[in-house]
């Protein structure tokens, strides 16, 4: 069959084959089909790009724009006033506090879990990895509920906690627990596949050369995993500050005391204080934009580093990619 006729009959509108870049060695028979492809493709390509971008604008950009537009609907003064409210401030402080506790906890856990899972062989490893992933697939509401069942007034430890006058549910410790649960996999998930791919040859060399375990981690492992680590921390932080479902179940919505920023947004919204709700929401949207910006910067820096490494002599850039089972 002649490729040229094939390409003519294959409609450009419905299919999305890429621009053919036939290898330079291709024979003269293919010439007409390549020319034909070039003259046909841009139309189909721009169709697909327009469709994809249209979807992005409709589903992602417009909601984001709506947050800022609604927040500023009554002007900058109303916006600033909404943000200066004491309740908004206490929500901001609480959100920062929760993230400041939850992110370091999960950072230490993520590094420890990745070290154990990636560097050693032991029975039950697949199960452990699944367990680390589990919080991702549990509904946030269920995540909140399980802590209510342990620490709540009717829960396992409820009577004992009441006796000792300790509040966990409907108080800050409960919010911290629920946040730690939902953000638990973020850093570990970034590190485990990377450290598995890197293997442990470099660490073993360091140990054999006389480095202590801590020195090995600090000078050999950490530089290798730093980008994934930063990536995980950013994502973990964004989720910790933005978590709604799990926190909503354990917080009790005590205004000015146990409302994080997302919960404060909900309270204001339900009270029809639209501008104030969107003003606080705009701070969270800014946080999301900063997260995305840092994320793509990290991605870019990492790629640049890989490219730089590729220019080094082979013995210096050789990552032991296949050394691990």
């Amino acid at each position: 069959m002649n490729p040229a006729t094939v390409l003519i009959t294959g409609g450009a509108a419905t299919t999305n084959a890429p621009a053919t870049s036939a290898p330079a060695t291709s024979g003269a028979v293919q010439r007409p089909s390549r020319d034909r492809a070039r003259s046909q493709l841009p139309w189909g390509r721009w169709c697909l790009i327009t469709l994809a971008l249209g979807f992005m604008v409709l589903f992602l950009m417009l909601p984001l724009a709506a947050v800022f537009a609604e927040a500023l609907r009554k002007g900058w003064t109303a916006y600033w006033q909404a943000l200066q409210e004491p309740d908004a401030w206490s929500a901001i402080r609480l959100t920062l506090l929760i993230a400041a506790i939850a992110v370091p906890l999960n950072l230490v856990f993520g590094v420890a879990a990745a070290w154990a899972i990636a560097k050693y062989e032991f029975r039950g490893k697949a199960f452990l990895t699944t367990l680390v992933d589990l919080p991702f697939s549990v509904s946030p509401v269920v995540a909140g509920l399980i802590y209510v069942l342990v620490f709540g007034a009717q829960g396992w430890l409820g009577p004992w906690l009441a006796e000792h006058n300790i509040r966990i549910i409907f108080a800050v410790p409960g919010i911290v627990l629920a946040t730690v649960f939902v953000t638990l996999p973020f850093i570990a998930r970034e590190l485990i596949p990377l450290m598995q791919a890197q293997g442990s040859d470099e660490e073993q060399a360091a140990i054999v050369l006389g480095a202590t375990g801590w020195q090995t981690f600090w000078h050999v492992t950490l530089p290798n995993i730093k980008w994934a680590l930063i990536y995980g921390v950013i994502l973990c932080n964004a989720r910790a500050m933005g978590e709604f479902g799990a926190v909503s179940v354990v917080s009790g919505h005590i205004r000015g005391q146990t409302t994080t920023m997302p919960l404060h947004v909900e309270i204001l919204y339900n009270e029809y204080q639209s501008v104030a709700a969107f003003a606080v929401a705009s701070l969270l949207a800014l946080l999301a934009l900063v997260t995305l910006a840092v994320q793509s910067t990290v991605h870019w820096l990492h790629e640049r580093e890989l490219k730089a490494a590729a220019h080094l002599p082979p013995d210096r850039c050789g990552r032991p990619e296949e050394s691990h089972p």
Binding site: A52, A66, Y120, E121, L145
Partner: protein, 272 residues
């Protein structure tokens, strides 16, 4: 290999810490849920999880999640394709923006979508006169779930598509395949494991989603009330037994989906 890896210190302490942390934060609280459920009598459990209002909530949650995950699979494939294969101005920004639903708190997404689609919103004001209502009914649930599930398919398909060997497609074209044949017989089968993984991830996330949905759903019992909201509603009435029973059903579904996702990812690894 085993004796070599033993050289590295820290196995006991890191594994011990991992197990302790996971036990305290995940295993013990989850077992509290299971034990609480086991303390219910069978009729009590069955009545709680099959009440008409709860059944309607399952139908809405699964129906809307399936529709949303399907839309995500199609649009995610398209977005991944456009981002990998084509160059256009602003591509880097678009690529970064795909992750917005991961970074934007769900409550913010919920009120933003509601503001857009409500009768007086930017989009709603044009649709309302045509009789199309997208907020405060099950349509709103689907839209919120499409929003939060979008990045999953893009991010699972994108790397596989980038690694795809172009020679295969060229060979197919040289052998006389139409573009559609090349796409459906050569490219799509290679992408299937990644596409299904992304679909399952989006589905799992959609089924458990709460924050973005409750603002836009309208939350009418029997019509637009999702399953997580049933749990919250029961908790607010101090019906811990009922909340636990429904939560156990949701947890079981999460487990099944998690196993499915693990199997799909193993399939994908074998393929590559």
């Amino acid at each position: 290999m085993n004796t070599a890896t033993r050289v590295l210190p820290g196995f006991k302490i890191t594994l011990g810490y991992t197990l302790l942390y996971l036990s305290l934060l995940v295993l013990i609280p989850l077992s509290a849920l299971v034990l609480k459920t086991l303390s219910l009598s069978w009729p009590q459990f069955w009545d709680a999880v099959t009440a008409p209002r709860v059944l309607a909530a399952y139908r809405l949650t699964f129906g809307a999640s399936l529709i949303a995950a399907t839309v995500n699979a199609v649009m995610g494939l398209l977005l991944a394709w456009v981002l990998v294969r084509y160059d256009f101005p602003g591509k880097r920004i678009i690529d970064a923006m795909v992750d917005l639903p991961f970074a934007l708190p769900t409550a913010v997404a919920g009120i933003a979508l509601t503001a857009l689609l409500a009768g007086n919103g930017w989009i709603g004001q044009y649709l309302e006169p045509m009789g199309v209502q997208l907020a405060f009914n099950p349509n709103g649930v689907v839209i919120a779930l499409i929003f939060i599930g979008l990045p999953f398919v893009v991010r699972t398909v994108q790397p596989v598509l980038a690694d795809l060997e172009k020679e295969l497609e060229e060979a197919a074209t040289c052998l006389g395949a139409t573009r559609w044949q090349t796409f459906s017989r050569v490219i799509l089968p290679t992408l299937t494991p990644a596409l299904l993984t992304g679909f399952a991830l989006a589905l799992a996330r959609a089924i458990g989603e709460y924050g973005s949905v409750i603002f836009i759903a309208g939350n009418m019992p029997m019509v637009s009330e999702i399953t997580p909201l049933i749990i919250v509603g029961k908790l607010e009435q101090y019906d811990y037994a009922g909340a636990t029973a429904v939560a156990t059903v949701m947890l079981l579904i999460s487990f099944v989906l998690l196993l499915l996702i693990n199997a799909l990812q193993a399939w994908q690894r074998r393929r590559s």
